[in-house]
């Protein structure tokens, strides 16, 4: 899909969130988890005063995702009553024997959260994994025993209001449960790649390069404005004798100032003047 998007052959499907989710996480599967997936999703955060990251929240529970030896990706696991989260990730086989960990990732691109109040999408998924996990179509999910309840809401823009609504519903139904829905934004992926890039193998670099171009093409990268010339360039551009042009036709360029030019510039070298 990436090549089709880059070459303009994707017929508008590039704006579909399922295609985006599948393309991005389909590649993440083949890169060592501690090199991209984990630092990416760990950077998800809560909209509280401290902006608590998922890494911090898990750390307080004694969980380090890097200690799991395996990660399983279950795309669009189906639960008849509560619906279909985009991705369930199951972290297994912890090196110190800690329970497996299940995360839900709900991704959005051009659309908002589906449903409000009783039909709130994120609240429904929370209920699904806590009260009805046995009814997921995929056995990896339905047979899961371990730590669960964390939801990552992966979006393009800030979604604090949507998440606040979902949290209220969850807290109403499950008093005492707080801060389980974490915000992750697509642009954090490229930022993570840029941070981790020096540690990649040749193959991982090739995949990371493709991912960066893909995210770039979809506009899922922060724009920080146009760089202004740095000091050395400003001094170059403000030289008394500019480099590239004749200032007010006075023939005062950098090249005119060179001392060791052997050719006189006073005479025409390569052409004849019209009146000759």
């Amino acid at each position: 899909m990436i090549q089709a998007v880059l070459k303009g052959k994707s017929l508008g499907y590039e704006w579909k969130e399922d295609i985006l989710t599948s393309t991005v996480f389909g590649i993440l599967k083949y890169i060592r988890p501690d090199m991209l997936l984990i630092p990416f999703i760990e950077s998800a955060f809560l909209y509280n005063e401290q902006k608590t990251s998922l890494w911090e929240a898990l750390f307080l529970e004694g969980i380090d995702m890097r200690c799991y030896r395996e990660v399983e990706y279950v795309f669009w696991a189906w639960n008849q009553k509560y619906g279909e989260p985009d991705l369930v990730q199951i972290f297994r086989n912890h090196i110190h024997g800690i329970d497996d960990l299940l995360l839900i990732i709900e991704a959005k691109f051009k659309s908002d959260k589906s449903g409000t109040d009783e039909k709130d999408q994120l609240a429904r998924y929370f209920e699904a994994i806590n009260d009805d996990i046995g009814n997921f179509s995929d056995s990896s999910v339905s047979n899961f025993k371990g730590i669960k309840g964390y939801i990552i809401y992966l979006t393009e823009a800030k979604s604090n209001l949507e998440m606040e609504g979902s949290n209220k519903i969850i807290q109403k139904k499950y008093p005492g449960i707080g801060g389980k829905i974490f915000q992750l934004r697509w642009h954090q992926l490229t930022e993570t790649i840029e941070k981790m890039y020096p540690f990649y193998t040749v193959y991982e670099k090739a995949m990371a390069d493709d991912l960066i171009m893909y995210m770039d093409k979809l506009g899922l990268r922060h724009f920080f404005g146009i760089s202004l010339p740095d000091n050395s360039l400003i001094s170059t551009l403000s030289l008394k004798h500019p480099i590239f042009y004749n200032y007010k036709n006075k023939k005062q360029t950098y090249f005119d100032e060179l001392e060791d030019v052997e050719i006189s510039l006073k005479k025409s070298i390569f052409y004849k003047e019209e009146n000759l």
Partner: protein, 177 residues
């Protein structure tokens, strides 16, 4: 300053131009994304024309402006667009122009229509305080009958400092045009 240092300044200037082009690419992708899926771009990866590879037209070796034109399937006679102009006669700094063009005859549509509207048709404006400050101007030009009317506004390119400014000062007004 040594000759190498002097020469290095030339390299610095070219690298800087390259950097600006790279960032404009990112800006255009961002605009594509913010306008999608309602508006889709017309010319694929084509972003400019008339950059010269000819020895005799050296001034045109460097890019002067880029364009991006968007169409909406529901309204075939209306296009929206963006241009970024890096240099031009009397232009003090690079500007980004956004606008809407309503066509009478879309078969005569040209890559540079929006650019021409802003840079060539402004003489027809009755107001003297024509500025690249986000003010929206309306244009009509009897000598260009294939365009019925146009609306456009411009801002200095360096004003677009981040996603939020882009959304507030370019995307929202462009969508509302």
């Amino acid at each position: 300053m040594s000759d190498i240092q002097k020469g290095n300044q030339i390299t610095l200037v070219f690298k800087y131009i390259q950097q600006v082009c790279e960032e404009c690419k990112q800006l255009i992708f961002k605009i594509d994304s913010l306008l999608a899926p309602e508006l889709s771009n017309l010319y694929g990866n084509r972003i400019t024309s008339e950059v010269s590879a000819n020895l005799q037209t050296a001034k045109r070796w460097i890019i002067q402006a880029i364009f991006r034109t968007y169409e909406n399937e529901k309204d075939g006679l209306v296009n929206k667009g963006i241009t970024i102009t890096f240099w031009d006669k009397d232009l003090e700094q690079p500007i980004i122009t956004a606008g809407k063009i309503v066509y009478n005859d879309i078969s005569k549509r040209n890559h540079w229509d929006l650019w021409n509207v802003w840079f060539s048709w402004n003489n027809n404006l009755k107001t003297d305080d024509y500025k690249a400050d986000g003010t929206i101007y309306s244009f009509q030009f009897d000598e260009c009958p294939y365009i019925k009317e146009a609306k456009a506004f411009s801002l200095p390119l360096i004003n677009i400092k981040d996603d939020k400014v882009l959304m507030e000062s370019i995307i929202k007004p462009l969508i509302e045009l």
